[in-house]
């Protein structure tokens, strides 16, 4: 080889890995809200957006502050939160139990999978009159509606998650002489927890939607009643106060679930 031969070209290897691994970025989410609200404020102030189509965010805020000061906020919020908590707690608890049974017992699966599939697509709000007859016009029918609405997605998510639990772990449990209940408690439930929690994100969102729908159809107090009243008066500021409270509720529920995931699922790689 001669010294005069052209030196081979040198370049660093192009990087093509990375991505596909979500990391936690705290500030982007809030920033999106801030930018959107600032745009609305700017648009309504300059007249670029007419006051008839969109209320001004600062007016909405003022209405909200009034609502708070008058004490009416809690009068509406507390019944709503109670309904959501009672209804979805019932729906999710029963849903997880039924989902685990469907996942583990062939007869239960054969009996219930079709039934759940039949109930799932029914708009639950259509059943409210029925629930009013069964459980009374008061809280009972609202609890039942929210419970049924959160029940079906929880069942589907849970039995899917149970199906995905590593069977070798279950065989391992059997090989160490664990009882059926211990296997469910110590292996199946923790193994299905990721799927159950992501199912709960959907169930609870559905729970909030049904809460408002139920309150619109008949309640003196509650966020839904407040929104309905504002809507019928074409009071956009109050309408948006109500809607924003719902959004905050949704974000809080999702944040709580995120916290639960980080607490319970720290073992995931």
């Amino acid at each position: 080889m001669s010294e005069t031969a052209l030196a081979p070209t040198r370049s660093s290897v192009a990087f093509r890995g990375g991505g596909f691994a979500p990391i936690r970025i705290r500030w982007v989410g809030p920033l999106v809200f801030v930018v959107l609200i600032a745009l609305l404020e700017y648009g309504t102030r300059t007249g670029f957006i007419s006051n008839l189509t969109m209320p001004r965010p600062s007016d909405v805020l003022a209405t909200f502050v009034n609502l708070w000061k008058s004490g009416l906020l809690w009068q509406h919020l507390l019944p709503s939160l109670t309904r959501l908590a009672v209804g979805s707690a019932a729906g999710v608890t029963v849903g997880i139990c039924v989902g685990v049974l469907i996942g583990l017992l062939s007869y239960v699966r054969a009996a219930l999978v079709g039934l759940v599939a039949a109930i799932f697509p029914i708009p639950k709000i259509a059943l409210l009159p029925l629930f009013v007859i069964w459980f009374g016009i008061d809280e009972g029918s609202k609890y039942a509606l929210i419970a049924l609405g959160t029940f079906t997605p929880t069942v589907v998510a849970t039995y899917g998650a149970v199906d995905n639990v590593d069977r070798t772990l279950i065989r391992m449990g059997q090989s160490f002489g664990l009882s059926w209940f211990s296997i469910v408690k110590k292996i199946v439930l923790p193994g299905a927890m990721p799927g159950i929690l992501s199912g709960m994100r959907i169930s609870l969102a559905i729970g909030i939607i049904l809460l408002v729908a139920a309150e619109m159809l008949g309640a003196e107090f509650g966020i839904g009643a407040y929104i309905l009243e504002a809507g019928s008066l074409y009071d956009l500021e109050r309408l948006f106060v109500g809607v924003s409270v719902l959004s905050v509720l949704g974000v809080s529920v999702s944040a709580l679930l995120g916290l639960a995931e980080r607490r319970l699922l720290g073992w995931r790689t």
Binding site: S175, F176, G177, L178, P190, R268
Partner: protein, 255 residues
Amino acid sequence: MELQLDNISHRYGDVEVMRDISINIPAGKIVCLVGPSGCGKSTLLRFIGGLERPQSGQIIQVGEPPADCINPLTFVFQDFALLPWRTVEGNISLALEEHGLGGHRMDEIITGVLDRTKLTDFRNALPKQLSGGMKQRVGIARALAVNPAVMLMDEPLSALDSQTRELLMDDLITLWTRQPFTAVYVTHNLQEAVRLGHFIVVLSRRPGTIREVVEIERPLAEREFGDADLEIRQKHLWNLMREEAMASDMELVSV
């Protein structure tokens, strides 16, 4: 306690997996099962451990397990089978919790087996923080914790690199020498078989039948890596296996 496999045969649907397998598993000895892929070694082990039932034949337990034995037939799994949400300690205690031992006794057992498997410093680590060799140590510690009468090991070292495998093989030999245990040890690796086996059962390709049982008298502790006499045994096993492996390779192609 001894185990006797008595004319075990089994088929999955149309596939005949094994035929007329009879093996004696004497107390305090390690019996290695070698054979080509798909000849039913894992299936046979599940039969022995009572996780599955053979279609014909039976597995007979001769004598009672020792009184201090918590789980007589105990598996060590190829893929470790650790609960990812439990720490090392939690994974070992899983096997003990069922048996009403009391916290103090359990703690004593766990400390003991962690010490024997050199895991003391990793007591509170999660599986995701451990290397493969470490995970299998946990698997072995969990098995030792229940003081088994027979250990059923399905390729316990095959997921590990060859250096780690050497180290763990030495560990197993030390454990056995300190306190002889009975084991059925499934492996693909003939070197493992001649290092650890008192008896080596060579199975034919599917349907699995017994080709030959090789006994190696030399005590485990005296077997060295690269022993001439073991090399000869290994070569003999390899010749047996090669025919089977080649034949089963051709079968797969013709399917």
